[in-house]
């Protein structure tokens, strides 16, 4: 977070946790260092992921998704900030850190470190499931959705449409998190936060399928679907735009069919190899 209040809190929290012998790593990176993978590696290495969700910021929602099965410690600056969050986020208790509550938050984090992990594991991704995540007002993407649904039918893949407005809790997200392919409609609507979270999950958990053997799984793919001719700047978090196109792809209704080709080919090959 670049918000001054959030930065100040982070610095104070680092000091307080230091007093409790807890190391806090942050998103701050030295000049010349490739920041996106560095931050992701820090999240991977952490025991607890402390997320300041005040705002909210698409960047933090993406990191929240990337945190995968980490024990999460969500925070907001005030109750007002909590009300601005999507419902599926606020069903988890969010601590507030405003009004000089840094010491209490630090102690709570230290206690959590010695407790059993509280977060439920995310569901196992499965091949052959495409999730289409959209908002109620995103009719510009309807034609692309219908074409994608047809493509799924042709190959025998399950197509599941999810409206962000219907996602009330993390449990509602379970079936979206199982998808091997996720197409998220990005147009400045509320669903953008959810799509960022799901893209983060795909970057963290890159395979769908059971088994460790050769050809027993497919690569998961995320697609950020933007209106034709839209500049992604401002709509997509910087982290998302820096991820390899092999994992997360920015696309438009015009290009979606072509861009989905690789992911569909992977599933087709899995079917062909398994059931010759």
């Amino acid at each position: 977070m670049n918000d001054p209040g959030s930065r100040r809190f982070r610095d104070e929290l680092e000091d307080k946790l230091g007093d409790l012998n807890v190391v806090l790593t942050t998103g701050q990176v030295e000049p010349g260092v490739d920041w996106a993978p560095t931050v992701r590696n820090r999240i991977k290495a952490a025991k607890i992921f402390v997320a300041d969700l005040s705002g909210p910021s698409k960047e933090v929602l993406f990191e929240l998704g990337f945190a995968g099965n980490k024990d999460l410690f969500p925070l907001v600056e005030s109750n007002g900030h909590r009300e601005q969050l999507p419902r599926w986020v606020t069903s988890k208790q969010c601590e507030t850190f405003g009004d000089g509550r840094v010491a209490q938050v630090a102690e709570a984090i230290a206690r959590r470190l010695t407790a059993k992990p509280g977060s439920a594991a995310r569901p196992t991704p499965v091949p052959g499931l495409l999730a289409w995540v959209t908002g109620r007002d995103a009719s510009w993407a309807d034609e692309a959705r219908n074409k994608t649904r047809l493509m799924c039918q042709e190959i025998g893949m399950e197509f599941a449409e999810h409206f962000e407005n219907d996602l009330e809790s993390p449990e509602d997200l379970q079936n979206v998190l199982r998808a091997s392919i996720m197409v998220g409609v990005i147009d400045g609507g509320r669903q953008d936060y959810c799509v960022h979270f799901l893209l983060g999950d795909i970057v963290a958990r890159t395979r769908a399928g059971a088994g460790t053997g050769r050809k027993q799984s497919v690569a998961r793919r995320g697609y950020a679907l933007l209106p034709n001719g839209t500049d992604p700047e401002g709509l997509l978090a910087d982290s998302v735009r820096r991820i390899s196109r092999r994992v997360v792809m920015q696309t438009t209704p015009e290009r979606l069919r072509t861009d989905l080709g690789g992911a569909f080919d992977s599933y087709r090959n899995l079917l062909k190899d398994s059931y010759p």
């Binding site: 569901p123 025998g156 395979r207 399928g209 059971a210 899995l270």
Partner: protein, 338 residues
């Protein structure tokens, strides 16, 4: 799905999330006059976490029952006593016109018991099979860590079947993901001929491959076996089961596919008056259909082997993806029982 005035639902309570799925989906439309859940948890998976999840499942089904005015009962049964499930199903069948049998969370001995009871039901009795398919089965991408086996049961699929001519017994092996269970079962009894049946699910080719890979050592060994002596030569001459062969069935065509395979096996076994041994480790719906087909068409010589686990992992299955149902009359017709 039919919904006569007097129908009952019989399922099993479990720590699995899918324990209540079929009842949740079917009860509002089916007009059940009673629902019974077999509760075997304390003998299968003791422990606070499993108990707590079973109680959650019980709360869910109780609430649905209250909402719809359907009495929901909980029957304590032994997890591995086939007879407990048979008696309960026979009791409900006698009292109701139609019984829906949800095998999703039943133990395999209960599934076998339910199948054999349905197979010997009078022709007027009506039942339907239902099964909730989970999204996945635990952490399949990790090396399997077995929790151990405490016994191995040899179960008869009908009343007093014969075990004579065991030397030319024919097996039906439905491989599952716990390959060590199959190893224990084949250590109990190892027919020299039979059929290994793979179930191909359209959207989960990865599970098919994983199951095949995990059972590779066992299936390779089986495929090298041959029935010895003159009977073996005669078997090869007349029937395809001079040893073990592999066949696949599509999940979409499961009942017809299994009925066809079972028919071939039964013809062979009848010719040699030999027992048929079912190794019931694949999908429970496949176990039910195969056991039903054997009990209905070859009650004089059908058996199953079941190694009893010490306990079950709490992540045995994930969620519920879909519900499959089939009328008993449809299964009976495909099996050739009626």
């Amino acid at each position: 799905m039919s919904s006569p005035a007097k129908s009952a639902f019989i399922g099993a309570l479990s720590f699995e999330p899918r324990a209540s799925y079929a009842f949740e989906r079917l009860a509002p439309e089916a007009g059940y006059s009673r629902a019974v859940f077999l509760d075997y948890g304390s003998t299968a998976t003791p422990g606070d976490a499993a108990t707590s999840r079973r109680e959650e499942a019980w709360s869910r089904v109780s609430a649905i029952g209250r909402g719809l005015g359907v009495p929901v009962e909980r029957r304590r049964v032994h997890a591995y006593a086939m007879g407990d499930a048979q008696r309960e199903l026979a009791h409900q069948s006698a009292a109701h016109e139609v019984v829906t049998v949800d095998v999703s969370c039943m133990t395999r001995p209960h599934v076998l018991g339910a199948a054999s009871t349905c197979a010997k039901a009078p022709s007027g009795a009506s039942w339907e099979l239902t099964y909730s398919r989970p999204w996945s089965y635990g952490e399949l991408d990790k090396p399997s860590a077995s929790l151990g086996w405490r016994d191995s049961l040899l179960l008869s699929l009908a009343e007093d079947p014969s075990f004579s001519n065991e030397g030319v017994a024919v097996g039906i092996f439905l491989p599952g993901n716990e390959s060590d269970r199959a190893t224990v079962a084949f250590d109990t009894i190892e027919p020299a001929s039979g059929v290994i049946v793979g179930v191909r699910q359209a959207t989960r080719p990865d599970i098919y491959r994983l199951t095949a890979a995990r059972n590779e050592v066992q299936t390779r060994h089986l495929r090298n076996l041959r029935v010895p002596g003159p009977l073996g030569r005669e078997m090869v001459e007349h029937y395809p089961y001079g040893g073990w062969v592999s066949e696949d069935v599509d999940a979409q065509d499961l009942i017809a596919g299994l009925a066809s395979i079972t028919r071939q096996v039964v013809v062979t076994a009848k010719r040699f008056e030999a027992p048929v041994i079912l190794f019931p480790f694949g999908p429970k719906v496949a176990v039910f259909v195969t056991a039903y087909a054997l009990a209905a068409t070859y009650p004089e010589g059908s058996w199953a082997v079941y190694p009893v686990p010490h306990t079950h992992p709490l992540d045995y299955s994930e969620g519920a993806r879909s519900l499959t149902s089939a009328a008993g009359t449809q299964i009976a017709e495909l099996v050739g029982d009626r």
